[in-house]
Symmetry: D2
Subunit: 277 residues, 4 copies
């Protein structure tokens, strides 16, 4: 499967989040602790929003993140208030740039850890349900990219949680029709450049790990001497497959079958239930 | 578009055909004379049959052929009685290994120069017509790979010319339904490891260049001093997008709307007409 | 050989200079008009300075520039007041990231078109002349990277034109010692992030093409209707292997055996003579 | 560091040795048990001898071995009586094809696991000791490639063990001159296409793991039901960084500070001592 990280908050040099932490995403690419695989070396991607652009920039490549010099360069020179990073462990599909997350459509960005069990059985049916105007934008062969385009088909632009619920419901329905007991396993992040939605769900209710960082004001009280916490706004939030370190009180598990919204103002957590379309 | 070469005959070191000729395919990757583009640097592939294997081996990569060291190595060390080579000039689709020709299915190998005009309009419809059991094997995003899987769907394994005719007829029908005046442009080669079929066709009857080499016995009489001609069997034949040199009498244009069969025994040429399925 | 472009002036989106012009560097990667090769597809690199960094950022990769999506992304999202871009046509040395220009050392950046004739004969001797502390930073196998490190050894940080003259003098001396009649062929650009030096020189006084853009105020008088000219500062200057278009009066050949300095204030041109160390 | 495998014996499909074993080299690229790193994903290489060629063929690439399709293809189609395979874990030097093992010079092939401690301090001095005619063939930046060219300089072609001993002695002498306490750590394999020499040595006499397979006749007596053992000649031998499985009696540690010779006839093991040149 994969590991990912979503950041929203104070304009931040990517290096600070991607490389600096003790158990950074780069470290996870070699030594994941909570992932299904310890190694996530089948490609990577970062996507970030910057001033003056509604669409995010992407840097994606097919080699491992840990030895990629262009990623190292961008981390040293790019800062952003909202960015995604993803490291891939292929479950068999080709290792190619078009299969690297995050995926983008207009101002939207999407990344996924998990899999559709039996995807080869239902890939064709899922593709048929994608809006024909969107279908032409599918460039790779992952289940994740199809999930993204299904969510777009189901109204991601209007109501992200509902669109993801319909996508999940569709995957589960088709899975069952093909005799797959537990079709869906996902933690996923989606953003329009302003808000960030993070979902944790699996058909068997035994989902991959997902964590969110605690409120900055609470963390500051716990750790008044941590300089980093003084430099970031109270709105700053991270959602990650694995904690980036072991600062006490910093990380909280996203509950099973839930999703959170990170946005200007109060963030919120809700239960997540797939919806039959 | 692209350039390609198909060889059938005496077991031959790939280098002899791929690199040695004055206007070799490697030279064409930098300086094509008859192609739509002079540069064909968006990936390459070779596929060859060897003793003891019914399925061909593939070496494909995303960089240009002219500077690829693994291709250079294989050319120096692999010999084969039947091989394909292809250099790609992308018309926009991603430069990735899964978009590199030749494509393979079991013992079958397929490569293409040309394009489906308006492919983005009919990609979905074409994919729907592919046998669902075959659809899962589509790994890339080219029109060519879909054409191959359509031909497989239409019986390539039983009757290659008929299957290709149905594929072409289907592309033209769908193209017209989407308002495309000249949907199909193709020179293509297909083989099962024994026989080789090469097609030249386009809806506007103005197809990309395609040439076949003259009979070896005739060439020997013309050029008794050319050592290479003495070393090859009378059954040896090349089909190429562009002549590999300027030996007088060596190269003949495949007629417009035709296909040839290279096989043990007498080779033959026939007219080609798309068939409405 | 190669083609390159150096930009200094108004903070500018890379796309405007790299992709937009009629005969952009990306176009030159496929269809160079004045280069030794028409195709420059053996890797590329860009380097740019941004606020808050003295060292430039680099993006370099081994494939052709024309199909690289990460380059396309950066061009759409990065703007800079001073950047280099380079497309490579290898003369035999390996196509690898460490052989892609521009090269960097601290705040310095360097790129080159041309070659040391007989480099294989004198590579070892040239390497020996590199300051041992600098030698460890040589990562690739090009003559260009050795030239850069020789110039650093000879005081690039103090007096760039003198350091380049000593480097050139050393190459010519060693070349003659090895029986090479015309050892050096170069157009090169070097910058410390503030000023930009561009050199055109070859032992046989028949150097590769190099052009600089005319003064912005003069161009505005010639072309009052060209919007681009109104948007840039009077200090803006381009130095390029080939003109990016055919705007009358826009491009001037750098004279044979000369170098120019682009800097805040008046730019200047001087004769260039190698110096024996 | 790295992991490697050397095979000599019955002409064998690469797949049988590279992919089939339970703890194959491909498995070790993801999950090394005895290596310094668990992941060896910074490039790979295979080199093999085939009939009619004195020089081996190489396939090397910069991505991980575990997801490389060209490696998978070659393993399925190439068989050889003598081949090397290597998976790399870079200790900082660039991940590029020219840094991938095995290295080749004429009919010689060389691969290495380990490192020269303080290589950056003595790289220049080591390069100076390489025969100038050989120096021009150094294409990458690894300590390993320099070690190979030093061994060539010291007479690898005449007396491999003596040449390697002189190389090792030179590295240790220069290391000490630069204040490095334990300069050398190596397991290495070298072959001329007929015999195979494998060395295990480190200055601190705590060398990386290295194993050789037991005599085939002895293994057959132990395991009369293992079909593979019946299909291979009595001369067949493997030398590996890690055992490929857990067949009792199959694997023996190469003793500390030793080297073995695998050749037609009786194989032998000798103590290894660096030699001061």
């Amino acid at each position: 499967m994969c590991r990912w990280l979503a950041y929203s908050g104070t304009d931040m040099l990517l290096d600070t989040i991607l490389y600096k932490p003790a158990h950074s995403l780069i470290d996870q690419s070699l030594h994941s602790k909570l992932g299904v695989e310890t190694t996530n070396g089948d490609g990577f991607g970062i996507g970030w929003y910057s001033q003056g652009n509604t669409a995010p920039a992407l840097l994606r490549d097919v080699g491992p993140a840990w030895n990629n010099r262009n990623l190292r360069e961008m981390a040293d020179h790019v800062s952003s208030p909202l960015f995604f990073a993803h490291i891939r462990a292929s479950t068999g599909t080709a290792v190619q740039q078009s299969n690297c997350h995050p995926f983008r459509h207009g101002r939207w960005m999407f990344m996924h850890n998990g899999a559709i069990d039996g995807f080869h059985l239902m890939r064709r049916d899922l593709c048929l349900l994608v809006d024909p105007e969107l279908f032409v934008h599918i460039e790779g062969t992952t289940d994740s990219e199809v999930m993204f385009h299904l969510a777009l088909t189901y109204g991601l632009d209007q109501d992200p949680p509902a669109a993801v619920a319909r996508m999940a419901g569709t995957v589960e329905r088709l899975g069952r029709e093909h005799g797959v007991e537990f079709p869906l396993q996902m933690t996923l992040a989606v953003t329009d450049g302003v808000s960030l939605w993070a979902f944790r769900y699996s058909t068997r209710h035994d989902s991959r790990s997902l964590f969110y960082s605690s409120r900055v004001d609470a963390l500051r009280r716990l750790h008044p001497d941590v300089a980093f916490l003084r430099d970031i706004s109270e709105e700053t939030r991270l959602v990650v497959s694995e904690p980036l370190g072991d600062l006490p009180g910093a990380w909280n598990a996203v509950p099973e079958s839930s999703y959170g919204v990170v946005r200007p103002g109060q963030d919120e957590m809700y239960p997540f239930t797939p919806e039959l379309v």
